[in-house]
Symmetry: C2
């Protein structure tokens, strides 16, 4: 199967070879070195300074989002959430579950927020801003500079879920004054799902240190203490962490985050150019390199997903809920090539010929 979903994505040959091996015992100095290497390279690619730290959780990205809300925020905060789709909505729900006071900004569907929208919340005592920098459900990439300016002016923490954006779009925690960056193993890291990570600035680390959470599994203080020696409090997904190590080292060899972002951008541009004459509307007006969200004007989105899967051995990414029949997405993450794009285009053109599009 050729996989254009936004996760799990296609794995490289090296990552698959690591996955084919026995999983080692992990309470060893050898595995600690792997974990230290993973932290070092994530910090390098996220442009996190020396005082920041990274923890790896055996959980989906939602687990890392919840751990962040629980450990970095509290009922004493006043939080602004950009809610532009299902992942923004998830941040709102997490704040509600954990009694963190929050206000949501609802962007126009498929659009970035505006300066005017944000200005309405200026000087009102907001202590943190939560954003899914690429709202994956609609493929909208928010302008980080606008959010940084707001947070700097309001002395607010900037908490960025970059699950589908990290290593696909430019991201610089230091330059953009990002306090928390969340990522997952199955997006541009192009490993199997099962690991998520939370990168924390010095300011965020102080928050974690002074917070008491009613959780053992999501106690980041404990995770950070164990990470000092390259370990985790509980048995992690050791195999996936080794695959992440393989992948991070390869990204480093190939020119680091900048080169991977460039490659992803080229792949996305190639696809978007190739569909100009086809009956699709791109529904995001602020595109991430990670994904192209499409509204088919002549067919149902979910039918296109099903036909591509069953008759062409190609997965694109369906949407859920209200968008099921309206939108499907084509991802540009993982071990995909320009030739793979063209295979998908040929399949779509064949569907056009058959009257299915």
């Amino acid at each position: 199967m050729l996989n254009f979903t936004v996760g799990p994505v296609m794995l490289s040959q090296e990552v698959m070879e690591t996955g084919a091996q026995q999983v080692p015992y992990f309470r060893t100095s050898e595995f600690s070195a792997v974990m230290k290497g993973n932290e070092r390279l994530v910090k390098k690619f996220a442009h996190l300074d020396d005082k920041g730290k990274v923890v790896f959780l055996t959980a989906s990205g939602t687990g890392a989002m919840e751990a962040t809300v629980m450990n970095v925020l509290s009922h004493q905060d006043k939080v602004l959430v950009i809610n532009g789709g299902s992942f923004g909505h998830r941040f709102v729900q997490l704040c509600q579950i954990h009694h963190v006071p929050c206000t949501e900004i609802l962007p126009e569907w498929g659009h970035d927020i505006t300066d005017e929208q944000l200005a309405a919340y200026d000087g009102q005592g907001y202590t943190a801003l939560l954003v899914n920098i690429d709202e994956t459900s609609t493929g909208v990439l928010y302008n980080i500079d606008r959010l940084t300016r707001f947070c700097q002016a309001n002395h607010a923490l900037l908490i960025v879920d970059a699950i589908s954006s990290f290593l696909a779009d430019p991201l610089d925690m230091t330059r953009s004054h990002i306090d928390v960056m969340i990522a997952g193993s199955q997006k541009a890291l192009a490993c199997p799902p099962g690991i998520s990570l939370v990168a924390l600035s010095e300011r965020a680390l102080r928050r974690v240190e002074n917070n008491d959470v009613e959780s053992m599994y999501f106690d980041l203080k404990d995770a950070l203490r164990n990470a000092e020696r390259g370990q985790t409090p509980f048995t992690p997904a050791v195999g996936i962490l080794l695959q992440i190590n393989t992948r991070l080292r390869k990204i480093d060899e190939d020119g680091g985050d900048a080169a991977l972002v460039r490659k992803t951008s080229e792949l996305a541009a190639n696809f978007r150019n190739s569909i100009q004459d086809m009956p699709f509307e791109i529904v995001s007006h602020s595109l991430s390199n990670a994904v192209t969200p499409l509204h088919p004007t002549t067919a149902k989105a979910y039918d296109i997903f099903t036909t591509l899967k069953d008759e062409y051995n190609i997965w694109v990414c369906p949407n859920g809920g209200d968008l099921k029949d309206k939108v499907f997405r084509v991802g540009h993450l993982g071990a995909l090539t320009i030739e793979d794009n063209q295979t998908l285009i040929r399949a779509l053109k064949d569907m056009q010929k058959r009257g299915l599009l």
Copy 2:
């Protein structure tokens, strides 16, 4: 490396081959069928009746323990915990974190609890009993029949962490009136770590349904709702779930849980017979088939772990904390054979010759 730890354990060829493959997109009927198959076979091997259900969590066993305490119990319960080592202690901590009133029974070190110990808590309104049926830190297997009798007499829920015992020791949820059984991917299931599972009786399901948890990631109501259609609320460790499917189907072909328990028992007996003349004391007086905990009388336990690792390419399982120098463990889980046992014995005998033991 030859791996005698208690997890991660050696993978079979088939499980490694599944791990070598691309990870598929999972919001499909094909993956739902895999998940349904996993649930069906876990229910079969755990002897859970038709009304019970199984949820799979992307988390370590501790995550599943915490989810169980949060979803099945509440501050209105009065819970008895068998605390015979670090995993029993973990259950006590989890009850404390989540405000579940609990009392601990401390067995004599290395021993099962006695009828007299348990009788002291009879008729006192206990609503649930929590036990790590194989306390993996000391290799003590508790007698399930004694616990079942207590729970039946006291109308208490029986909650069994069988993380290292499931498929290694006999276990029958129906016959033993077990309400919750917790297991993990990296023990006798012999897959990479990253997935844990919670099997729930009808009575436990009612508890979950009537409980409100302050958690999104560990909301078992949501997990159960999604499991109805063979799905999970969040992206799971898809690759490991496919490996679990491969493994469960092979166990079924090979005679099911009874055959695997018998094989593990034979492997454990072979090892225990082979070390009779060696300077080791078996520290558990109630052994599980999963692991043999050894106190070396002529050397430090951690030194033996290190020498076997660095000079013989063999991992045994070290203990932590106070037991670090006193106890190491030899596991009998995963793709190990009688010949592998003999390779370990030869290494230990060689260490004896060299004066290291």
